[in-house]
Amino acid sequence: MNYINSILVLAGIYLVLSSSFDLIIGYGGLISIAHPIFYAIGAYTAGLLAIVWHVPAIPAILSGGVLAAVASVAMSLPAIRVAGDYLLIASIGFQLGLLQIIKNVEFTGGDAGLSDIPPAITGPSRAALFAAISLSLGVLVVLLIRWIVRGPYGAIITAMRDDELALLALGRNVTRIKVVILAVGSGLAGLAGGIYAFYYQYLSPSQFDVLQSAAILTMVVIGGMGTALGPVIGTFLLLGLPQAITFLQLPPSVMAPFQGILFCVLVLLFILVRPQGIIAARRPHT
């Protein structure tokens, strides 16, 4: 049962990550791959606040979300002011640079990782409670993003993605819209990081590297970019896939790259054969 609950905790976390990433890349059309580093900022902030200052879980998780949002502004503002494509380059540098800091400073535990994070919830139903919290957060985030994109601000976001110049001509501050989208998406990723930290009680820098970007990207692309339901389907499909191939009984050292190969092949196939993903957006992404 604990195993199923662990899968459900992960499902909730990845729902938040993929949906918030879809807001950035699918609805906003902003090319950034640094999403896992905001997830990391949230996780490390929450973990460190709990370890060093004994901050309770909820304020620690919220602080992680806020710090992730602030960090995204610091990353995106200089890049977006110059030109959209530079955001991608800046995001790669930001992700790798911050990971290197995490790996090399002592207070984050360095390469060995951060351990001894307090459990926040104890008792026999700990895993089930975490699963409920994580899935609830996931559903809330999906609904929040659906609400945002269906409202007036959502119309502006998609208009910016479809024709930025036209939106500029209408007098809209495109830079501000982009920074806000990134901050909201990254802040939500930070919240997911906080949940992860308190559930697993251990963080390692390798969990937040560029390969993690590929996993989240896979969920969004396969599910369908620019749709509320797409990332949900992508998340469950990609979390289910590793379970489906466990019958092969491959050793862990082989299993991890094998999963990666499957994910990447799926993305490439979808990009070349069905770029709109399983759930097609109203305006197809070609």
């Binding site: 494509d85 790669i92 790798l96 640079g97 290197q100 560029v210 490439l268 990009i271």
Partner: protein, 307 residues
Amino acid sequence: MMLPILAQIFWTGFANAAYYVLFTIAFALIVKVVQLWNFAQAGMMGIAFYTMYTVINFLEWPTWAAFLIGVAVTAAAGLLVEFYGLRTLRRRRSSNLMFFIFTLIFSELIAYVLMFLFGTEPVTLFPSILSPVRIIHGIAVTDWDLTAIAVTSVSLIALWLFLQFHREGQFLLAVADNGRLAELYGISAQRAYLVAFAIAAVFSCEGMYLFGTRAAVLPTTPNDLMLFAVIGTLLGGMGRLFAAAAAAVVLALVQSYSVLVIASKWQGLVLYGFLFVVIVLFPRGFRLPGFRARRAIPSPTPVQAKV
């Protein structure tokens, strides 16, 4: 007392710049001709290294054969990316986002395949990376340094001659300047893209050979190396190949000298700091005051080619 140390750091940094220059040229050439941020280059670099590694260590063939096979396999991978991937996306008039995802995921796929086949232990091309050393005016100069500088210099000269005097090279420049106009004159842009990928494969393979005989490589190492090429391309100014190469040398020297002021474990961070400075202060590349290009080359927006 300090001067010999500074000179030694300069020399070592200059020699190490050799492979960075080769990676940067490969990246910048695709940006210039295909007008694409080719993140698939990391995958091509991984293929180049592990092909040579397999031929040298498992087949025990000579180095020259390993290099030629490495170039052939890398070029084939590049042509596959262009032919079956990018051409499909171009035909479909896909957004920049799709090109970016395709090239990035291709590199990730190659990294996973290499992990699957070779594991995650760092490896070098040869069992030893030591190179004979001679002391010249108090500076330690290795055979590797001289080989690296010679290979890079000859490659750069060959590329310049190819672009200036060979018909295919001139076609590359024409397509880079204006693909649509070049097509009107009967130049095939698709062929130019394939030639650009083939040249990038040669430079990637040379770079990985030099790097793999100097340091250990993991399946994910090419991703870090490619970032250097991206910064060099940005700093040199998109469309300016040899300025990008010069930028790569400067970056390598800055990184080398940084050991004087910061611990070596933070050297990589200097690079990322540079990235932000370049994006904010020199988004169109760094130009020396009063410097004018002999021929005006438009700076292409690094997106997919529209031809």
